[in-house]
């Protein structure tokens, strides 16, 4: 085994990487989102035209991805806060990460129909 110079941590490091990647993604989304919402000041037609793209099946999939990113960032953010402020936080950080992942999976399954249902109906007929 060659000695690597790259630090490969365990759960703690990967959750940090995921927290960082999702945070940056959400920021870029928000930038575009405020721009598209600003179209309500241009005209109702301009706004409705852009929002129509939000309703297409492909963008629905992106919305599902956005929900995935936000749910992870929010739940893991609460875990980071608990690690920092709760005296037993650091000791239970790993258990808290698996709790976060568990809640995340449940919420993602719950979001399947509300977020992607209309896209499935459009693609395969109702």
């Amino acid at each position: 085994m060659p000695a690597g110079t790259l630090y490969r941590g365990r759960e703690g490091m990967w959750s940090w990487v995921a927290h960082r990647v999702t945070g940056v993604l959400i920021f870029f989304f928000l930038f575009v989102h405020v721009l598209d919402t600003a179209l309500v000041r241009v005209s109702p037609e301009a706004y409705d035209k852009v929002v129509a793209t939000y309703k297409t099946p492909i963008v629905a999939l992106l919305e599902y991805g956005l929900v995935a990113a936000i749910l992870f960032h929010a739940l893991n953010g609460l875990r980071v806060i608990a690690v920092d402020f709760w005296s037993k936080g650091p000791r239970y950080q790993k258990q808290m990460l698996w709790t976060v992942m568990g809640i995340w999976v449940v919420l993602m399954v719950g979001a399947l129909y509300p977020v992607l249902g209309h896209a499935v109906r459009e693609l395969f007929g109702s």
Partner: protein
């Protein structure tokens, strides 16, 4: 510290400049300056409060954003037919209420400042050249201020009878 850096059994491979060299009195290891060493350029007090305030702000705003953003997503993507119902008329209905105006305003400011400060950290971590880091942060601050001001203006000047 062990002088031998090439022992196969240690699990640590050869270190640059260390192969076959044993550091000792006649071959001293290079000095690594302590990261926090005070230099002529170090200000008298290095204990500014800004980074601590920023650290605390990330946590406090995060807690509030859980409610604001997850509530927003629930309203926009899940309730009442999900995205399908969104349109100019829907927004007009929502911004007719000061409650949702304030909700959106607070969400806009907190999310942009939280995300902006988070991105500042990311830039500080990865952009190593001083000029690159400076210009990336200028771009970030410009985009953040622009977005916050535009979003605020849109909420306050929204006109349901624009037509």
């Amino acid at each position: 510290m062990s002088a031998d850096t090439t022992t196969a059994t240690s699990g640590i491979g050869p270190v640059e400049g260390g192969a076959g060299t044993a550091y000792g009195v006649d071959n001293p290891a290079p000095v690594i300056e302590a990261p926090r060493k005070r230099t002529a350029k170090t200000p008298r007090s290095t204990r500014g409060n800004f980074e601590m305030a920023a650290w605390l702000f990330m946590r406090l705003s995060g807690i509030v954003l859980v409610v604001l953003v997850l509530g927003h997503l629930l309203i926009q993507l899940v309730l009442d037919g999900g995205v399908s119902k969104i349109g100019f008329a829907f927004v007009a209905g929502r911004w007719a209420s000061p409650f949702w105006q304030i909700w959106d305003l607070l969400m806009l400011w907190l999310a942009m400042l939280h995300g902006g400060n988070g991105l500042r950290t990311v830039i500080n971590d990865y952009a190593e050249r001083d000029t690159t880091r400076f210009w990336l942060k200028m771009l970030l601050y410009t985009a953040t201020v622009f977005t916050v001001l535009l979003g605020t203006l849109v909420i306050f000047t929204f006109d349901p009878n624009i037509r």
